[in-house]
Amino acid sequence: MIHVFAFYLFAAIVVCSGALTILSRNPVHSVLWLILAFFNAAGLMVLLGAEFIAMLLVIVYVGAVAVLFLFVVMMLDIDFAELRAGFVDYLPFGMLIALVLLAEIVLGIGIWSAGPIELAQRTAPVNPELSNIQAIGGLLYTRYIFLFEAAGIILLIAMIGAIVLTHRARGGVRSQNIARQNRRRPEDAIRNVNQPIGQGVEL
C-alpha cells in the first residue's frame, strides 16, 4: 500500500516538475524544478530496488551538476522580453526536435510491448544475493572494463579540452608562493644600516 502510494507520489511530482521546468518563466525556477524532478526520479529508483543508482543520481546530478548549473543561471542578467523574443524563430526547430523525440518514444514503447527482445549477447545473470553495488561493480570492472575505461578517457579529454579553451595566462599577477614565504628568515629581509645624517638610504 505504502509502495503504491510512494510510487504515484514520486511519479506525479516527476511529471509535474518536468512540465514546470519548461513552463516557468524564470530560468532559476526552471533549474529548481529540474532538481526536484531529479530528486523524485531517485525516489522512483529506490522503489525499483536500485538504491545505488538512486544515490548516485542524487550525488552526481543534484549535488554537483545542478549546483553548477544553478550557479551559472543565477549569475545571468535575466531579461524576460529578450528571452521571449526569439520564440517564434526557434518554434519550427523546436517542433522538429519534439517530433523526433515523440517518434522515438512511440517506437520504444511499441517495441517493448511487442515482447522480449532476444539480444545477441544478454548480460550475465545477476546473482540475487549480491547487493546492488557488488553486482554493478562486478559487471563494470570485468565484462565492461574497456568500455568503462573508454568512458573515463573521453571524460578526461573533455576536461582537458575545457581547461585548454578557457585558460588564459594573465600577466602581472603576483601569486603567492607559500613555500618561499615560509623559507624567508629575518636575515634575508632586514638589514641594519648605520645611516649618516643628511643622506638618502641606498637599498
Binding site: 505504502i2 529548481l32 545505488f52 542524487v58 543534484v62 549535488g63 554537483a64 549546483v67 603567492q176
Partner: protein, 349 residues
C-alpha cells in the same frame, strides 16, 4: 518495533509507519535538545579560550541561554525584504534544516539501533550533505541583495570543492571496511593489534582521518573556512536578510550539521559505538555513550579550531582544497587499495 505494533493487532503497513514516525521523533527531538546544549558548549569553550566567562546569566551556569535565545527569536517578527523572491526566501531555511536532520536516519547509535539500516548508508550521507548547499545558494539568490549573493557563490564553490576530497576519504574507509553500511563499517574497526578499536589507529588510514576532519570543517563552513559568513566582508553572508524563525532554522541546521560531521568522524575513523580499547569490561558501557563521548570530543576539537585558527583567504581555501587535500586523498585511495590488493585479496595475479 514494527513487530511490537503488529502484535497489538495493526496491519504491517500501519505498524511500520507508526514505528518509523516514533523512531524519527526519538532521533529528532533529542537532536534538537543536543543542538541547544552544544551551542551553549560552543560558546562556553570559545569564551574559556578567550579568557572570558561566556553565557552565565540565564539558569545555573547559563545552561538555559540557548532556550532563552530560542524563545526570543521565536517571538520576533519575520521580515521579508520587498524585493526578495518570497517563496524561495522562505523555502531556503527549511531546506537547510530538513537536510541537516534527514542524514541522521542512517547513523547507528548501537548495534541495530538505527532508523534505516540501508546498505548504501554512506552514499546516502554523501548525497544528503551535497543537498545542504541548496539552502545557502537559494537564500543568497532569493534575498536579492548583494552580500548574500556573494556568500551563495562562495558557498557553492567551496562545498563542491571539499565534497570531492570527502568522497575520496570515504572511499578509503569503504575499501577497508568492505561495505557502505555504517554499522558494518563500525564493526570492521574492531581489534586493531588485538587492542584498539578504530580505523584511526591504522597508519594508512590516520592521514585520511585528518583529511576528512579538515574537509568536514570546510563542509560545515566552520572557522577557518567560514567564508560564507565572513562578517568582515559580507555582513552575515547568506543569512543577512533573515530574521526570526527563518534565521533560527539556519542556526539549528548549521549546528545539527556540525554534530553530524563529528558523529561521522567518530563512526568512520574512531570506532563509533565501540569502546576505544578492545577490552571486555568496557563493552558493559552502552555503545551509545561511547558514541556520544566521541561526538563531544570532536565537537570540542571543532570549537578549539574555531577559537584558535584565523580565517583563510578565499584563494587559499581553494588552493588547500584542490591542490593539497584532493591529490592527497586520491593518493591514499591508491595506497589503501594497493595495500588491500596485496594482502587481503591475495596479491597481484
Amino acid at each position: 518495533m514494527t513487530a511490537f505494533f503488529q502484535n497489538l493487532g495493526m496491519s504491517y503497513d500501519g505498524a511500520w509507519l507508526l514505528s518509523t514516525v516514533i523512531g524519527i521523533l526519538l532521533i529528532a527531538l533529542p537532536l534538537m535538545l543536543a543542538v541547544a546544549m552544544i551551542i551553549y558548549a560552543d560558546r562556553k569553550i570559545w569564551a574559556a579560550m578567550a579568557l572570558r566567562r561566556g553565557p552565565n546569566v540565564v539558569g545555573p551556569f547559563g545552561l538555559l541561554q540557548s532556550f532563552a535565545d530560542g524563545a526570543k527569536v521565536f517571538l520576533q517578527e519575520t521580515i521579508i525584504p520587498s524585493a526578495a523572491n518570497r517563496t524561495l526566501f522562505l523555502i531556503a531555511p527549511i531546506i537547510t534544516f530538513t537536510v541537516a536532520l534527514i542524514s541522521w536516519a542512517v547513523i547507528p547509535f548501537q548495534v541495530g539501533v538505527v532508523l534505516a539500516d540501508i546498505n548504501v548508508g554512506l552514499l546516502y550521507i554523501l548525497a544528503v550533505s551535497s543537498l545542504g548547499v541548496y539552502g545557502v545558494v537559494l537564500a543568497g539568490w532569493s534575498s536579492n541583495s548583494k552580500y548574500p549573493f556573494y556568500s551563495a557563490i562562495r558557498a557553492s564553490a567551496q562545498m563542491i570543492s571539499y565534497e570531492v576530497s570527502i568522497g575520496f576519504t570515504l572511499i578509503s574507509v569503504v575499501l577497508w571496511a568492505g561495505s557502505f553500511n555504517l554499522t558494518e563499517i563500525v564493526e570492521s574497526q574492531k581489534g586493531y593489534y588485538g587492542l584498539l578499536n578504530g580505523h584511526g589507529f591504522n597508519p594508512l588510514l590516520f592521514p585520511v582521518a585528518v583529511i576528512f576532519f579538515i574537509s568536514a570543517l570546510a563542509e560545515t563552513a566552520r572557522t577557518p573556512f567560514d567564508l560564507t559568513e565572513a562578517e568582515s566582508e559580507l555582513v552575515a553572508g547568506y543569512q543577512t536578510e533573515y530574521s526570526s524563525m527563518a534565521f533560527a532554522l539556519y542556526w539549528l541546521g548549521e549546528y545539527a550539521n556540525v554534530i553530524l560531521m563529528c558523529a561521522l568522524n567518530a563512526i568512520l575513523f574512531w570506532g563509533g559505538f565501540l569502546p576505544p580499547i578492545d577490552w571486555a569490561p568496557l563493552y558493559y558501557v552502552p555503545g551509545i555513550l561511547w558514541l556520544f563521548a566521541k561526538i563531544f570530543f570532536f565537537f570540542f576539537v571543532f570549537s578549539w579550531v574555531k577559537a584558535t585558527v584565523p580565517r583563510y583567504r578565499y584563494d587559499q581555501l581553494m588552493r588547500l582544497g584542490w591542490k593539497i587535500l584532493l591529490p592527497l586523498s586520491l593518493f591514499f585511495v591508491f595506497l589503501v587499495s594497493g595495500f588491500l590488493m596485496l594482502t587481503r585479496y591475495g596479491g597481484a595475479q
